[in-house]
């Protein structure tokens, strides 16, 4: 067919005979190059702000960045010293909120993906999950005040703030769990059911082991979200300043569940807007630690995902 076409149509005939590009091919190649440049350019644009932010932050924070900055408490009305108390507070909030949200979210995701049939109730639940994910964090904060601070009687405390963060991260954990589960081929489940395995046996032995990487990635990514949010903890448990030990073992357990705590995001907010006489370097230093925390958690989750994908079993 090709040779026939080559002998009968002029332009293409030349192209076929000499193996050189005709005008159509040349145009195609040009467009191809333009599209590649455009897409590449946009991608670079994406990276630029991140690099700019990171370099500015680190450059401006350089004078205060030291080990002592991390391990010491704020001093002299927060105009000097380090960020130990808010850093530990953030760790507290993140871990307690995940301890609450991860089991509930994962179990709900398993139910929605593996057990729930297609009916109006599950559609309603799915709709609720999607909408919960879209609720602004300040609204979560007000909900937290009503539900945890007042109704549950936690008062303004680590527990109330962590629960508020948990409610905020729950929908994303549910969604990522569902996605990870639905990535496991349906044929695996049917093979197991055909051999007389129950739904739960199938989930326990086949589905969960193969979805766990996706589920954990979803959970880990919520660490950075919980660490960065200020609004939900503002009314529910974060405090302007609290004196906690920064030496010895006691410095790792400075807060009780019902104590109020400092937190990095809120601390950054107060030293940049509420307290006078704080050096720029101190503010930028706090931002660097906060961003460093988020970035390192994200990197850890990426590394984890790469590791698990290398062991992917089908």
């Amino acid at each position: 067919m090709a040779s026939e076409a080559a002998t009968t149509t002029g332009v293409h005939a030349d192209a076929f005979r000499r193996f050189t590009a005709g005008p159509v091919e040349r145009r195609k190649a040009l467009v191809e190059r333009l599209v590649a440049c455009l897409l590449g350019g946009v991608t670079v644009l994406l990276v630029l702000p991140l690099i700019a932010i990171l370099t500015t932050l680190v450059a401006k924070a350089w004078p205060v960045l030291s080990w002592a900055f991390i391990t010491e408490n704020p001093q002299t009305y927060m105009t000097s010293g380090g960020i130990w108390a808010p850093l530990v507070g953030t760790f507290y909030l993140v871990f307690i909120s995940l301890a609450v949200a991860a089991p509930i979210g994962v179990l709900a995701g398993v139910y929605l993906n593996e057990y729930a049939g297609e009916n109006w109730l599950t559609r309603l639940v799915n709709l609720a999950v999607v909408n919960l994910a879209g609720v602004p964090s300040i609204v979560h904060a007000l909900f937290g005040v009503g539900a945890f601070v007042l109704f549950a009687g936690f008062g303004r405390s680590v527990l109330a703030a962590a629960c508020t963060l948990a409610v905020m991260t729950l929908p994303v954990i549910i969604t990522s769990t569902k996605e990870a589960l639905s990535a496991v081929p349906q044929s695996f489940r049917e093979a197991c059911w055909n051999m007389g395995a129950s739904r739960w046996q199938t989930i326990r032995t086949i589905v969960l082991p193969n979805a766990i990487s996706g589920i954990l990635t979803g959970v880990i990514l919520q660490v950075s979200r919980a660490a960065g949010e200020t609004a939900p903890i503002l009314f529910t448990g974060a405090v302007f300043y609290v004196a906690v030990p920064d030496r010895g073992l006691a410095s790792f357990l400075p807060y009780g569940l019902l104590d109020r705590c400092m937190a990095l995001s809120y601390h950054l907010f107060t030293i940049s807007t509420q307290v006078t006489g704080v050096s720029d370097a101190l503010q930028y230093g706090t931002a660097v630690v906060l961003i460093g925390l988020v970035v390192s958690v994200n990197l850890a989750s990426i590394a984890f995902r790469v590791y698990l994908r290398s062991r992917k079993r089908w």
Partner: protein, 256 residues
């Protein structure tokens, strides 16, 4: 009872299945005798797979599927059974595309016995070897039992699927177009296995390959457009004069 043949292993009585508005099976009445290879042929979308799914109630998992009529396995009405897991263990199923579970070869075959509560290592070892031998796969995998089932070739995975279907010692083995993803040599190996297995188990063989049914089956049922057109001994179905004109046209390749 519609026919009076003695002790059918599987019996369908006036079974209709619909998915929403789509009718998949229309008033099928059929009896499958013990220890035979029972071929089911018919064009695509004629209801063959649906028929199989009724036997072990996998149809329960199909959303919106509505089943009317009664299905008996060994004389028991499958819809009266409370232990559906037990029912499924009495029946081995093999589907068109091989599914190696993401477990080792050994664990693939040991899966069903373990889920049924068998834990003793020596019994499992013996069972796994027997099933793999029956599925004509043992020689190829005996030195790499820890290899992932999903890493085997397509034909090996299909034989692994058959080994798995035999692992819960079923009394019935259903195969749904098992040879689609398998090379001819492997197909022949599996066919030999089936001929040997029928001494002990009843085999229901759904196939698109009319000649395969002719080679293996003792009895053949012909489904078309959700209806059972004809059922009879293989010789009769493939003779110059089957009871129905439609059957003749189909097995001669005039349609479908």
């Amino acid at each position: 009872m519609v026919t009076d043949s003695v002790d059918p292993h599987i019996a369908f009585q006036n079974v209709s299945v619909s998915y929403g508005r789509k009718v998949a099976l229309d008033r099928v009445t059929l009896e499958i005798p013990r220890h035979e290879i029972f071929g089911i042929i018919g064009p695509a979308n004629s209801g063959k797979t649906t028929l199989l799914k009724c036997i072990n109630r996998m149809i329960d998992f199909a959303p919106a599927a509505k089943v009317v009529g009664r299905v008996f396995v060994g004389g028991d009405d499958v819809y009266q059974m409370t232990n559906v897991f037990g029912l499924r263990r009495r029946i081995g199923m093999v589907f068109p595309l091989p599914v190696g579970l993401p477990l080792s070869v050994y664990d693939n075959v040991a899966y069903a016995p373990r889920m049924a509560g068998l834990t003793r290592r020596d019994e499992l070892d013996e069972l796994v070897e027997t099933c793999l031998r029956q599925a004509a796969l043992w020689d190829e995998v005996k030195d790499r039992m820890q290899l992932l089932g999903t890493r085997l070739s397509g034909g090996q995975q299909q034989r692994l699927t058959i080994a798995r279907a035999l692992s819960h010692r079923p009394e019935i083995l259903c195969l749904d177009e098992f040879s689609i993803a398998v090379d001819p040599v492997t197909t022949m190996k599996i066919e030999d296995v089936l001929l040997e297995l029928k001494q002990r188990v009843t085999i229901v063989l759904v196939t698109n390959l009319v000649q395969q049914a002719r080679r293996l089956a003792d009895r053949v049922a012909f489904l078309n457009d959700s209806r059972l057109i004809e059922v009879g001994p293989t010789d009769q179905i493939f003779s110059e004069q089957p009871a129905e004109r439609l059957t003749f046209d189909y097995v001669r390749g005039h349609f479908g």
